[in-house]
Amino acid sequence: MAAQRLIDAAKAAGITAIMGFALIGLELIDQPGGETLASRWQTLAAAVAIVFLGCLALSAIPAIRVRPLHRASPIFASAGRALPWTLVAFALLLPALPIANRGVIDAATEILIYVMLGWGLNIVTGLAGLLDLGYVAFFAIGAYTYAILATQIGLSFWACVPIAAAMASAAGLLIGFPVLRLRGDYFAIVTLGFGQIVRIVINNWRSLTNGSQGIAGVPRPSFFGLADFTASPTSGHRTFHELFGIAYSPMQRVIFLYYVALALALAVNLFTLRIRRLPIGHAWEALREDEIACQALGIDRRRVKLAAFAIGAAWGGVAGALFPAKQQGFVSPESFGFMESAMITAIVVLGGMGSQLGIVLAALILVGLPELFREFEQYRMLAFGLSMILIMRFRPRGLVSTRRPSVVLE
């Protein structure tokens, strides 16, 4: 046993030495008059030593079996039931709490947008089991639909939300139709490609999207068309603070946007909770479990998958419409890269495929923490990778891995 541990640790150290040879051991120094190569063998040796000792230490710890918390103790079970309502109450009260400054509310809005995206993708990936790596495309289509319609035709935010949903949904059908014959990894790769294609089209269709410079000056949502969030009235529009007879504060707009995001997110959640109990929702989950059996029960797999794709995409489009409003009225293709797609997928996978609550927790961790610790931004990817590894090691089925039955027989 002890010898085996030593051998394992030595192997890990060996791999570190090979991989670190160029990555850690060599350094390219940019000097006037050319670049020179310097060596950092001490650092490499330290890394190898850390891996070796770390492996030994890890193998000395007896294997830990993490039980689901709700089974570990009844206290956690009741806490688990109360958690969703606690989160909703917290979200509703957040702007009134003393910690709420502009940064916090902005971060919370950002988290809500990602929660919404996670819930939208959850229909496709969590319920129907289709690993879609290009979901960000629908986010982008929603954002650009709003940005273009608002700046060129002058449609209001509230008119654009359903249009953004419809456009994203149509794109979902268009993209979904050819790729639904594929499964698993192949499906993931093709959707990954489609996600990039949409971004590249936006980047190059200058006449419509203004290319890589993006669209600036997208009007922010008004107070349901009744009033604007400006300090003084502009061209016949009333202002929010006058409407309610309160003093002007730039926070009013930020808080209003936050509540809009919260309301839309809760709408997505209600929709998903309800549709899970309907035959289409049952068919999605059944499809994830066993496609062959579905076919034998008379389920048209392509139609059911297309429905998942179109509906998931529609919610992505709704989240997209919120995006330029949050970004000071600016939108550019840069915001819809593969990193964003990976982030949304990570939220769904880490949250626990199919779990609405898990997605909220994962979004809080993956989006919220980096927003709060902006000073450590350069370590963001490091933390991202570390959290992925920890989840895979200790909770391979996601943060919330319990599945609630959609229909119960008393």
Binding site: P279, E285, E289, L409
Partner: protein, 267 residues
Amino acid sequence: MSAPLLAIRDLTMRFGGLLAIDCVSFDVAPGAVTALIGPNGAGKTTLFNCLTGFYRPTAGNLILDTGGARRELAGLTGHRIARLGIARTFQNIRLFPRMTVLENLMVAQHTALMRASVFSIAGLLSLASYRRAEKEAIDRARYWLDRVGLLSRANAEAGSLAYGQQRRLEIVRALCTEPRLLCLDEPAAGLNATESGELARFLRGLTTELGIAVLLIEHDMSVVMGVSDRIVVLDYGRKIAEGTPAEIRADKAVIAAYLGEPAAAVA
């Protein structure tokens, strides 16, 4: 004999150079149990796969009597055939393991419930018409679960059931689609003597009480001989015999296929 429910005519399935089914013809009578037997690799499951739309037959006809109209099944997709009233189970059980027992049976009633949910709109709004359909579906599930003794496990994950229970669940899931013809692929595999006895009684009940036709692939001869009205024997993709259990038991070609030629056995 009355008009057949399903007429299989010159069915042929070829995989490259392999002739898996070679011009097989037989009838499946309504309200009766027809057994399909034969040594391993005889083409029984392939025939099921052709019949239920998982394979497209190379040649031949599969004609189903859908209550008046006669429909050609060859060339239809699997879910269409299922909707015409042919349900099946699989040799290696295919449940939805992470869904509950009841949910498995709700999925089986997808077609009827989808119609009631009207593009999910009636369902999302929870209209009375949809709630009624949902209640009917739950009642049907309850009825079948009760018949096979699984009612107490209705809210358990299907994957957590014992093997014999999973077999029963797969059969009642197929029955929840309200089929005319139920195709069972080795339903007694892995069951003990008591359980296979119960299975045989259950299948007889289906045909006599509900008039459902059963097409049965089975190796357990006690089940086959006890429950079948007619038996069709396949060997190397050809039909070598057809008849009542008594006739099949005495058939020389069948004995040879199962035990080898007498000359070969001596040598």
